[in-house]
């Protein structure tokens, strides 16, 4: 009797221990997670809070966590003196241009490589994959010379042209289209649908989520692009946000001193669209990269 009781007690004891241990693990996990989150969030927080401070305040020997008084005029200054409206316009046109052309060429290319049938299909596809292995950081010199000779410096076409086609986009979509059973396409063909019809009515709707994810990634890459715009658009006329922001230091340099409050305002303005997109389409954007990784 006593023995049985002890066994039960021991089991209870063990359960209690296990529960306690689990609880400790949970607490530790929470503490670590919150710490990491705070650290990672800090630069963004600091960017936003500094962007509302006055110059006197950012130069205080003891930094203030939150602006003592708000100075939204930093943002006005970025647009008025920093010409950010122009950069915004340029960035939007460039990004949309890249996006549209990559989607069109990407979808048609992917169709040709997955559902199409022609001689040399594989060879052509290897040709596309090979391009994936040649980075623009290597080829930019001749591309720059070509574009410059065609008079494309400081033009939208110059900004967009080298990104008209993305082998990455074609590749990703091709993999997705391939996974769709040919019978859908054949049935559509019987119904008299042409290629454009098959793509817009059958394939695209079926691969909506991949399409969307890849497009979001393309958008972000376009919006955040830096290397090529820096090379081709040296003139204020077609300067994009990323470059304008990096140059803000010089533009304001005449004011002489530390002007990080205004630069931070510029930084906030520059990332706003993408961060908003991120929070709207979080689901896609979080899985976007990992999805591709799992392929």
């Amino acid at each position: 009797m006593a023995k049985a009781k002890t066994a039960r007690e021991a089991r209870l004891e063990r359960d209690r221990n296990a529960r306690r241990k689990k609880k400790i693990v949970m607490i530790v996990q929470y503490v670590l997670a919150v710490t990491v989150t705070v650290i990672i969030l800090f630069p963004l927080y600091w960017m936003i809070s500094s962007s509302f401070k006055s110059q006197e305040e950012i130069l205080l020997p003891i930094p203030t966590l939150w602006p003592k008084e708000f100075h939204p005029e930093n943002y006005i200054s970025v647009f008025r003196r920093g010409n950010f409206a122009k950069y915004y316009y340029n960035t939007i046109v460039m990004t949309v241009g890249i996006l549209v052309s990559q989607i069109v060429t990407g979808i048609f290319g992917a169709y040709g490589f997955s559902k199409g049938a022609f001689k040399g299909q594989n060879a052509c596809f290897i040709f596309v994959l090979g391009a994936l292995m040649i980075p623009s950081q290597v080829t930019f010199i001749p591309i720059y010379i070509m574009c410059a000779n065609w008079g494309l410096s400081d033009t939208f076409l110059g900004l967009i042209l080298p990104s008209l086609v993305s082998p990455y986009y074609i590749f990703m979509l091709r993999q997705t289209f391939k996974a769709i059973d040919d019978s859908y396409v054949d049935a559509a063909k019987v119904d008299g649908l042409g290629r454009v019809g098959i793509i817009t009515k059958i394939l695209a709707p079926m691969c909506r989520s991949t399409l969307f994810t890849v497009t979001l990634v393309t958008f972000t890459n376009g919006w955040n692009s830096y290397f090529w715009p820096k090379i081709i658009a040296k003139n204020e006329k077609r300067r994009v946000l990323t470059i304008g922001l990096a140059m803000l230091k010089n533009t304001f340099a005449g004011q002489g001193t530390m002007n990080n409050h205004e630069i931070m305002a510029g930084a906030v303005v520059a990332i706003l669209p993408v961060v908003i997109l991120f929070f709207i389409f979080q689901k896609y954007m979080l899985t976007g990269y990992s999805k591709a990784a799992m392929k």
Partner: protein, 302 residues
């Protein structure tokens, strides 16, 4: 009886399919393959962008780079790029794995925190870079202020040799670590819980479970992250350009930055080209060897 069409429908269809891919092919010829060839040509000339004319100079630039005064820069860029690559790999792989373990809990609070950790990936590098310039500022930066609170001396993060690379890595690491976490986490979820239950029955400790089950099961993911991070970190440019400009004294002068500055600052197309080709060859070698390793050791089950 129907008249036989001029072109067989099958051929017609093939032609139409081919037309779908033609724009992409033409583009790649002009903007990817032709430039590579052109680059080789330029590397045999003395082309300075400012001059109207150029001439062929044979192997001069090649000798300059591999067995002349350029070798020094080549080796320096190799070294700097290697250090950076090792740094970013460690942050993405080890940091990513650690965060994946920490954030491996599924409720609302954690999903919000995960999103926060991941969001830097979407913050444009130029915005991130100016923020880090400000945070790491020697005189008024918050990091040095925190240092002063605990009695540490102010560090010239961006301006001195020992710390400039650390600053660049902090910046890129901040953007990359959440990405590493996401990739690991989504792979961890797919590990069947059977393994863990069996291990628990055997009385395996948490550490044992991690090293005996989790880590091996994640090897394809690790390899994937390794290869992608390796290749992308070799091409680092933007963070260096904004943060340090290759300085101080070439201590962050990575490969792409050096190529860029030869081409667009000094206008030495000849030297930039030969440097770019060397870089391309290096990338080829690295990729080829990672493929070899991956074919041997990891099996993707698709």
């Amino acid at each position: 009886m129907e008249k036989k069409p001029l072109i067989k429908p099958r051929t017609m269809s093939a032609v139409k399919d081919f037309v779908c891919v033609v724009p992409a092919l033409i583009f790649l010829v002009v903007f990817t393959y032709y430039p590579i060839c052109k680059l080789v040509q330029i590397s045999f000339t003395d082309w300075n962008l400012i001059n109207e004319t150029w001439k062929y100079v044979g192997l001069k630039n090649w000798i300059w780079l591999f067995n002349g005064s350029g070798t020094k820069y080549l080796l320096n860029s190799l070294k700097v790029t290697a250090i950076y690559t090792v740094g970013e790999l460690s942050i993405t792989l080890i940091g990513g794995m650690a965060l994946a373990l920490i954030f491996n809990r599924f409720n609302r609070a954690f999903s919000i925190m995960r999103a926060v950790v991941f969001v830097p990936k979407y913050v444009a590098m130029s915005s991130a870079a100016v923020v880090f310039l400000w945070i790491l500022d020697k005189e008024h930066g918050i990091v040095n202020y925190l240092f002063s609170l605990v009695g540490l001396p102010a560090v010239d993060w961006i301006g001195s040799r020992g710390t400039a690379m650390i600053s660049v890595l902090l910046l890129t690491g901040w953007r990359a670590v959440g990405y590493g976490m996401m990739i690991y986490l989504s792979a961890m979820i797919s590990i069947s819980s059977d393994y863990y239950e069996a291990a628990a029955l055997d009385g395996a400790s948490a550490a044992q479970r991690f090293f005996k089950i989790t880590l091996p099961m994640l090897s394809p993911t690790t390899l994937f992250l390794f290869v992608t991070t390796f290749l992308s970190s070799m091409k680092v440019f933007q963070s260096v350009d904004i943060l340090t400009g290759g300085g101080p004294y070439r201590s962050t002068e990575v490969f792409v930055y050096k190529i860029y500055s030869y081409a667009m600052v000094d206008f030495r197309m000849d030297r930039a080209s030969v440097m770019a080709i060397a870089f391309f060859i290096l990338l080829l070698v690295v990729t080829a060897s990672t493929f070899k390793v991956s074919n041997k050791n990891v099996h993707y089950d698709s």
